[in-house]
Symmetry: C2
Subunit: 174 residues, 2 copies
């Protein structure tokens, strides 16, 4: 499937509401349990998505579309959500993510990105040159990656409880 | 995490709305593309979930809780959604799933299931004896399995478009 801004925004704009439906009002165990040491709970994932809105996708888009000579990205801290100071409730995090995503989609729309813009490049700290369309496609796939992760983390809470059906549930083997 | 009816219903009751937010109004490519030959699109997955509501979870619960001597389950047809006659729109499928899930949760609540009921057994065609709590835990994990699958199928539509970021997106390797 070919990248377009429109098909990308279709996914990006619904993620905040999807996470609210998926997680809002659940028992704490569903929200706070993870897959074992060094793994993330659904709560942690929402914190990670917030950090991406603040420092990754749109700031990097603006670097690519700027007139700067050096279009190097800042490295992204995948663990920043664990250093955020006073702990917030899940509801606070979901609201913060919703507000940031809305602002960021407005910043995206305000650019009126052309086909030529999509080919412009920035410099990723590990990969070197990457295009704007790769960055924006990754924003979309990254949302879906973490929605899939949340589904898996939650499913694993019932790994023992399903008994022999574990054999039929691919998500428990991932 | 230990199985309870309450924690299970928390997940089961939100799945129809989650699928509406996740899929309603998307471009056809997001809904109809799959992962390659013999794999399912998001549209196919919703059809499969409908078939489960009709023939699997609650009908099997009622077999377990019946006074029949033979508590063997009917085999479940994992491909029934491809034999359903006139094709339906995604909106029709989502509405049908929502209505069936609501009815089935009412049937679940009407049983006033006790701790003793949860230990009652039926006979699975492949596994032999399984308990009611295993069946109901599987209903929950099965929803999450297919939400994860839909996320993965959609993410894979951008597998090429993300360029080098593929290396960081676990969902594209699943």
């Amino acid at each position: 499937m070919q990248f377009t801004i429109q098909k990308s925004v279709e996914i990006l704009e619904r993620t905040p509401q999807l996470l609210e439906i998926m997680l809002g009002g659940l028992s704490e165990e569903w929200i706070e349990n993870n897959e074992g040491p060094e793994t993330w709970s659904p709560y942690d994932v929402v914190g990670h998505l917030i950090h991406g809105e603040k420092t990754d996708w749109i700031p990097r888009m603006e670097i690519i579309l700027s007139s700067k000579a050096d279009k190097s990205f800042e490295p992204f801290d995948r663990f920043a959500q664990f250093d955020e100071g006073a702990p917030k409730t899940l509801t606070q995090l979901l609201n913060e993510f919703k507000a940031l995503r809305k602002q960021n989609l407005n910043r995206l729309r305000a650019q009126n990105i052309t086909q030529n813009d999509l080919l412009q490049e920035g410099r990723h700290p590990a990969f070197g040159p990457v295009t704007l369309s790769q960055l924006l496609a990754t924003w979309v796939a990254h949302d879906l990656n973490h929605i899939g992760q949340i589904s898996r983390v939650m499913a694993k809470q019932y790994e023992q409880e399903v008994g022999p059906w574990k054999a039929y549930l691919g998500i428990l083997k991932a």
